[in-house]
């Protein structure tokens, strides 16, 4: 399952956001929307853990796998310095994928931050072209809108500071979409982004009875279900009403009805 991947491209996307392309034909062949790769970043000294990144795009023909990442710490800082030709060890594709939309469904992707990376392949593969609701603190944190437009998705933006799009929360755009749906299209929601946003989204849609999947990620070690580091609460048939599920192999994609919001 691990595959050595040569870096073919590594460049700034916007501000602190970068995009890196690895040559990993085997991983590309098997990738489904919402899955991730677990990357051992080359030249990262004194660090032992791999870093998980959503698979943003794959080209099965050329064997190219794209990851969009933000510099947040030592690992991503070093990743940004790696030159073309450097090799990293990748494990993947890992995790549970999104359920594709059926022909009679209308996909609504709700994303925050790098959540647009995790849902891009999904948008590309959707038969019915839907809408992306992308939210962030400010314009600087909105990425990949062009990729969704290329995939024929309508893109609506929201920012907390109002620097672009709707000023406020992305969940307010969700309300808008639901209100606009006067012809009763069968909406299917997909969420990926910061945990508080996903919890708000999941709860709201559960109350309204819509189909929704959430990609919940958490700090990871092994990436394959062995260490129980990456857990989130899901509903369970026990006296507490919940159990800890591993996001790396029981997720990261969960049905919003299974998530425990208590």
């Amino acid at each position: 399952m691990p595959e050595v991947g040569e870096i073919l491209k590594n460049e700034v996307l916007k501000g602190d956001y970068y995009k890196v392309v690895f040559y990993v034909p085997e991983i590309c062949k098997n990738t489904k929307p919402g899955q991730f790769v677990h990357v051992k970043i080359a030249n990262l000294r004194d660090r032992i853990l791999r870093r998980p990144f959503s698979i943003c795009d794959v080209d099965v023909e050329t064997g190219e796998l794209t990851v969009a990442y933000k510099i947040v710490g030592e690992g991503t800082k070093v990743l940004a310095t790696l030159e073309v030709g450097t090799v990293c060890d990748l494990m993947g594709p890992l995790g549970v994928s999104f359920t594709p939309t059926k022909d009679d469904e209308f996909p609504v992707i709700v994303a925050g931050g790098y959540g647009s990376a995790a849902t891009h392949i999904l948008a590309k593969q959707c038969v019915t072209k839907g809408v992306l609701l992308l939210g962030a603190r400010s314009e600087d944190d909105l990425i990949l809108m062009d990729k969704f437009e290329e995939a024929n998705f309508e893109v609506r933006l929201s920012t907390n500071d109002g620097s672009v799009g709707h000023q406020g929360l992305v969940t307010e755009l969700v309300e808008q979409i639901i209100a606009e749906n006067t012809d009763n299209k069968k909406l299917r929601f997909y969420g990926c982004g910061p945990t508080p946003m996903l919890m708000a989204l999941g709860k709201m849609l559960e109350d309204k009875g819509y189909e929704c999947e959430l990609s919940l990620d958490h700090l990871m070690c092994c990436g394959v279900g062995a260490c129980f580091a990456c857990v989130v609460k899901v509903k369970a048939n026990n006296e507490d009403g919940w159990r800890y599920a591993r996001t790396c192999n029981e997720g990261p994609v969960f049905n919003s009805k299974d998530v425990y919001y208590g």
Partner: protein, 305 residues
């Protein structure tokens, strides 16, 4: 090929490399990577009587050359482990030599778990994790009190005929004393070291980096401490010693063997590279060949002072 067969008392392993409990799940998680039967043994994550949630999150934090964890002992409980498809029945089918790591909140629970494992097909040995708090005694870890360590192992010994490995806690002043007392209590061998108590703080939020506040340190950062403790213990007791703590490469493993370990376990390294145990087996073989040794036993304890 040198002879890698490793005899630990009545337990015979194909080679001296096993997985460290808690870092290899229940084996099934890594079954797609290589045949589990290629390993000396698979040591599963700790099992207690009843299913338990484990600790709140975040449960891990990376630190220089290592990591802190306070996973707590999330697990399926004895019944599910023995009968659930993805647990022991899977390991049995895989042909792996399986060692079950057990723990309890009380002495009675340890004995109860050990008794439940006794005589079960497919279990080669028990490893008793005594680094757990004794809930009835104000949360002092069994493995940090000589009397409690002796009592818990005596009770487990009485409950099972399986080969018994006691996993020692390094969070004590003199680990050799603990090795002696558990051997007196009937432990057939000892394994060490479990994680070292540690803590890390996020200076921006001023919060501990793991929800449990403190956690166990593992990885290359602890290797010199582990080597020294293995060296001390191997001198103090006559039973087989399983060494672990920060083994990343075959060279690290060989260092443990030279210090006196009869076998080794690979833990945190599996997170870096799931193939680490296999590479270590190959590397030990190459080292033995290069040094004209026919068997792994020829280098055990052979440190030159």
């Amino acid at each position: 090929m040198a002879d890698l067969t490793t005899k630990l008392g009545s337990l015979t392993l194909k080679n001296p490399v096993m997985t460290a409990s808690g870092t290899f799940g229940y084996g099934v998680e890594y079954a797609d990577f290589y045949p589990l039967s290629d390993l000396g043994a698979v040591v599963v994550k700790g099992i207690c009587m009843n299913p338990s949630h484990g600790n709140p999150t975040p449960r891990v934090a990376e630190v220089s050359s290592g990591m802190l964890n306070a996973i707590g002992l999330q697990g399926p409980g004895v019944d599910k482990f023995l009968n659930g498809e993805q647990y022991l029945p899977f390991l049995r089918k895989s042909g792996a030599t399986t060692i079950v790591n057990i723990w309890g909140k009380s002495i009675e629970e340890y004995a109860e778990v050990a008794a439940a494992m006794d005589g079960v097909d497919g279990i080669a040995a028990l490893e008793v994790n005594i680094s757990c708090p004794n809930v009835k005694e104000g949360g002092v870890a069994f493995g940090t009190d000589l009397k409690m360590a002796n009592t818990v192992i005596s009770k487990v010994r009485a409950a099972t005929k399986l080969p018994l490995i006691t996993k020692l806690s390094p969070n004590v002043t003199c680990i050799a004393d603990f090795a002696k007392t558990v051997v007196d209590a009937g432990s057939d061998m000892v394994s060490l070291i479990n994680t070292l108590s540690g803590m890390a703080i996020d200076i921006h939020t001023r919060k501990p980096k793991i929800a449990n506040i403190t956690g166990g340190l593992s990885g290359p950062a602890i290797k010199p401490v582990a080597i020294k403790m293995v060296h001390d213990v191997a001198k103090a007791v006559d039973v087989p010693v399983i060494g672990m703590g920060g083994i990343m490469t075959a060279d690290d493993a060989i260092e443990f063997l030279l210090a006196g370990a009869d076998a080794v376990a690979v833990g945190t390294a599996i997170f870096t590279d799931p193939h680490a145990p296999i590479k270590i087996i190959e590397g030990i073989d190459e080292y033995l060949e290069r040094h004209g040794c026919n068997s792994v036993s020829e280098i055990i304890g052979q440190v030159n002072y």
